[in-house]
């Protein structure tokens, strides 16, 4: 048996899994019943995305990212990790990016007068279907994950618009539905980076959610490849 003297991933995580789970719980205790509003908003944004109201969808997600930046990172996560405040600013930057996309219309996949994104053909359809699956995973599956698979309390459920992971996952799916070209790549950087950080954190803490996050990231990457594959021209305003 050899201990090894080099740094391990867990040496960079300044809290235990118990403390992180309590952070999730505390947010739920503090913000309930705001969850009902954020979940309704999330479902509405998926519907807007599928019906090609992309600019409106981006406009609705931007304040969600701002809220998570403040409530999750700056007010809670930063208590445990000095980097939390900075990550909050990064989430705020993503909110600004979504706002700019909404206002400028850059990178938007289809326009309202076209048929809904889900009815597209070829590799685009693959990207859109993956986007739908990921968005619904963030909105519905992730809140159920811990309570149903590990028997954790419902107070530990992670919810879109309240916690960082489901917000990033749902957004990742929405972006695959709505955007194309370099704007899609650009707008996926922050959600994907956060999910990677979160997966590594959970991995270091021996938490089961790490596998789910890595699987979602891998699926998102396939979706991104499909969205970036050569295809017949759609209406892309850039």
């Amino acid at each position: 048996m050899n201990g090894g003297a080099s740094y391990q991933l867990q040496d960079f995580i300044p809290f235990t899994i118990e403390i992180y789970v309590r952070l999730l719980e505390r947010l739920n205790e503090t913000l309930w019943p705001l969850h009902l509003i954020t979940l309704t908003l999330g479902m509405a944004v998926v519907w807007l995305a599928l019906t090609n109201r992309t600019r409106l969808a981006c406009l609705f997600i931007a304040p969600i990212w701002t809220f998570v930046a403040v409530a999750f990172f700056m007010q809670h996560y930063a208590e445990l990790n000095w980097a939390g405040g900075y990550i909050g600013y990064v989430f705020f930057a993503q909110a600004m990016l979504l706002l700019v996309i909404s206002l400028s219309g850059k990178g938007i996949h289809t326009m309202p007068q076209q048929k809904p994104a889900v009815f597209l053909g070829g590799v685009d359809k693959v990207a859109v279907l993956i986007g739908i699956a990921i968005a619904l995973a963030g909105l519905i599956a992730l809140p159920l994950l811990a309570p149903l698979t590990t028997g954790a309390s419902w107070q530990q459920a992670e919810v879109f618009g309240i916690h960082a992971d489901p917000t990033a996952i749902t957004t990742l799916g929405l972006l695959l539905i709505m955007l194309r070209g370099w704007v899609l790549w650009l707008s996926m950087i922050i959600p994907a980076c956060w999910l990677l950080i979160s997966a590594l954190t959970l991995w270091a803490l021996d938490a089961s959610g790490a596998i789910a996050l890595i699987a979602i990231q891998a699926t998102g990457l396939i979706g991104l490849m499909a969205a970036s594959a050569p295809k017949r021209k759609y209406f892309i305003k850039s």
């Binding site: 048996m1 050899n2 201990g3 090894g4 003297a5 080099s6 740094y7 391990q8 867990q10 040496d11 995580i13 300044p14 809290f15 235990t16 118990e18 403390i19 309590r22 952070l23 505390r26 809670h76 208590e79 445990l80 990790n81 000095w82």
Partner: protein
């Protein structure tokens, strides 16, 4: 004078003879031998049975089991966890603990210590150990002042330079503060076996009281030079990462390894915590070890490891061979 033995006297004598013949195999006897082998000159036992060692050049002693706060005490402002950690601190002192170590790098851990001490009062046995760390911002004095207000203590017993960050500047300032009576002792820290050559140079200069380094049954690099040098210079040594960040004890438990019988019979080990901690604190160069925990049950296990008997030098070698064979 009647020299004849009465029946009661005969029975007493017989009993004493039997006890004497069994003595070498009793744990109690092993304990006293182990104490001698583990550096008798600097050790004793407190009223609660916790093994104590003298530190530095003074006659003062510290319980060999202290407590670390990395990760475990960084709970933010969560009232539930704040109270849970306060209970850990309360139990630590009730079980005879003394030294608690923290750092500005540990997030809210200094604030959590402040909460616990405010609720419990400051026990006389507290030996508060903090650190200065350049990325935390502010000068050495500003950092110490800030940390004292976070701990809610009037003065730290020990302030160390965290991971040798800007150690020349910090140590110079800490020396002045010690001379002014604003802190009790000064020291330096490292972990993961890093920068031992630099640590050795600072220790050889002889103007620090404490050094904190990684020492456990699988990471014994400090044995070759730093621990003998510490004994020679009268520098107290705090051992961090006794369970190698938890992975050591978790691996033993996960593999379902059982304690060898001889460890129980000769060293009084009833748990793996006993085995791993007794190995560390029985080294004559080690003053105390600082396991971190969030659970009262684990704290009790840790504190039990500070009780006699301690492994002898030969038992320590046997412990290493046993772990390496797994």
């Amino acid at each position: 004078m009647n020299n004849r033995f009465t029946r009661r006297q005969s029975l007493k004598l017989l009993g004493a003879s039997v006890a004497a013949s069994l003595l070498p195999s009793l744990p109690l006897f092993g304990q006293s031998m182990a104490a001698l082998s583990a550096g008798e000159h600097s050790q004793n036992t407190s009223s609660d049975g916790l093994y104590q060692k003298r530190y530095g050049k003074s006659d003062k002693t510290l319980p060999v089991i202290g407590m670390g706060t990395w990760r475990t005490f960084n709970v933010g402002r969560d009232p539930q966890l704040l109270n849970a950690r306060m209970e850990v601190v309360r139990a630590f002192f009730q079980l005879g603990g003394g030294l608690i170590d923290s750092s500005p790098m540990y997030g809210s851990a200094p604030d959590v210590m402040g909460y616990a001490l405010q609720q419990l009062g400051i026990p006389s046995r507290l030996f508060s150990a903090e650190k200065v760390w350049s990325p935390a911002g502010g000068s050495t004095r500003e950092q110490v002042d800030d940390l004292q207000s976070r701990w809610k203590v009037p003065q730290f017993d020990l302030v160390q330079v965290h991971n040798l960050t800007d150690w020349r500047e910090h140590l110079a300032e800490l020396r002045d503060m010690k001379a002014e009576g604003k802190i009790g002792y000064i020291g330096i820290t490292t972990s993961h076996g890093r920068r031992h050559r630099e640590i050795e140079q600072i220790m050889a200069a002889g103007d620090i009281d404490f050094v904190q380094l990684t020492y456990n049954i699988t990471q014994r690099r400090a044995e070759s030079r730093l621990l003998p040098l510490a004994e020679e210079q009268g520098i107290a040594v705090i051992a961090n990462r006794p369970y190698n960040g938890g992975s050591l004890i978790k691996a033993l438990k996960r593999r379902g390894e059982t304690l060898p019988e001889w460890a129980q019979a000769e060293c009084g080990c009833t748990t793996w915590a006993d085995f791993l901690l007794k190995y560390i604190v029985s080294h004559p160069g080690i003053t105390c070890v600082i396991p971190a925990t969030t659970q009262l049950e684990h704290l009790q296990e840790n504190m039990r490891a500070g009780h006699h008997p301690m492994p002898s030098a030969s038992n320590r070698q046997r412990m290493v061979r046993y772990i390496e064979s797994l």
